[in-house]
Symmetry: C2
Subunit: 293 residues, 2 copies
């Protein structure tokens, strides 16, 4: 198995995972290998060890972001997750976001709009959930559903829907202009792997609660969804807010790759600990005066 | 140090930690040992191993609660944290709540009320943050601030404040009646240990952001706060919503004890995985028809 050769010491990324997974002008979803592990020079075991290391580093970086937010900083990060049922969005939240302090996370999940939400512009409910400074926001589904389920199920007229791509690009610009690093992630599983995962949900009583008969309806429209994803990815991947496509057939790789994207985004912010807005010496003297020893 | 004797194998709780830490009629805060480790037959090292085990168990129990909530269940859990600055409330969120899936957690932090919040009854902002079914809610400070900072700083007339105890007990009853298991935790550090922790925040530039000169103002009113805590604990610890007082001078013990309280509450719910509201056989057939192999 080569397990010995790929020791913890040498396992790592062979290149910048952001560059490897970013959607550029030549991106072709149909030929994208969903079982691949691009850039990772190691196996599942070495990935687990690497994740623990990155977890500690992420935790530190997240605290710096949080501290910055408490001190009038304007930075935030928004990890936006898209993917068909079973692609592993929930696993990313649990296993990647779960590595950092819950106090620094703002999680939002976007399902079928409520009656109130549906009465507003589709961006209304999204805007309300944008992360405040200092936080790592996570969107489990997002405004991009407007060109996925809304398009596929024709929940609005096609001529209106066709205008959404530009609108979404503009909205991303609004987010980024506000000081938010936007990481747009599309998790892509293969048709076969999705079948296996749905099968598991049906065969295990402890997974039934995750299953919905509508999941099969969506699977039956696989080609329509793939076409919608393809159009979304190529039309809305911009320099300031690129899409990253994650091969998601191997859960461990998907988690490792998203971890790395988040790590890279936080590292790029290059945040120092905030300066004191008090005089530490004076405060230490005040503190000493409270002693009862 | 007896480290060998207290091996991982035998380390554990010698009794029900809920019984040991629950505030009963005879509770006396002044004589409470804040450096103690009641009920724990082990040291910091064995506690860490035990925490990992409990973390896995908590994760499973939390998922059952979440599944129950997705399936029309009405249960939720609310962990309410009170404690003076540096008592370690944030550490509980990070290290205890951080062990479960962020998707199952609803975290709320109550600081100085905003202008809008202050224009309403003090319970208005609290009620909005009560956890929905399926979630573990966490309150970092709570409605109990009304008989802590509000009382000590006389932010409302004493005769009005004196009516709050009954009101808080009634509100707890409202919470519990709605299907929420309420775990009220008061974390108590000693005066000396608080001094050490504030000192550390002042001496380490990476901790400055956690410090506020107001922390010393509060410390100067230590006796007033202790009196307020004492009155709160004895007057609002009820059978349906008891207070648990946690000795917090040893962070590892405080985290271990709160973990155990949460574990006990989730175990007591005794939740089974939800039944399927579909026919798994029929769905497996539908799934098979989507095969492209």
């Amino acid at each position: 198995m080569g397990k010995k050769k790929k020791s913890k010491k040498t396992a790592g990324w062979t290149g910048d995972v952001a560059d490897l997974l970013r959607v550029g002008p030549d991106f072709d979803l149909a030929s994208f290998d969903r079982g691949g592990t691009p850039g990772w020079d190691g196996d599942k075991t070495s990935a687990a060890a690497f994740m623990r290391k990155r977890g500690d580093e992420l935790s530190d970086l997240q605290e710096r972001l949080f501290a910055d937010g408490k001190s009038d900083g304007t930075h935030s990060v928004l990890l936006l997750l898209q993917g068909i049922d079973t692609a592993g969005k929930g696993g990313i939240v649990r296993h990647v976001i779960g590595m950092v302090d819950p106090q620094g996370v703002a999680l939002a999940s976007f399902g079928v709009p409520t009656a109130e939400e549906a009465s507003h512009h589709h961006l209304w409910r999204i805007r309300k959930q944008l992360p405040p400074p200092g936080k790592i926001g996570v969107f489990d589904r997002s405004h991009y559903e407007q060109v996925l389920v809304v398009k596929v199920d024709e929940l609005e007229p096609p001529d209106v829907n066709a205008t959404r791509y530009d609108e979404l690009v503009d909205f991303d610009h609004e987010i980024v202009s506000g000081g938010t690093t936007l990481i747009k992630v599309a998790m892509m599983v293969s048709h076969a792997e999705q079948g296996e995962r749905l099968k598991e949900r049906l065969e295990r009583p402890d997974k039934w609660w995750k299953y919905n008969p509508g999941d099969i309806d969506v699977r039956e429209r696989w080609d329509d969804y793939q076409a919608a994803y393809s159009e979304m990815l190529t039309r809305t991947s911009t320099e300031e807010a690129p899409w990253y496509v994650i091969p998601a057939d191997r859960k461990w790789y998907a988690r490792l790759a998203v971890t790395e994207l988040l790590y890279g985004a936080l590292t790029d912010l290059d945040l120092a600990w905030p300066e004191a807005d008090f005089d530490p010496k004076v405060e230490l003297e005040r503190l000493a005066e409270t002693s009862r020893a």
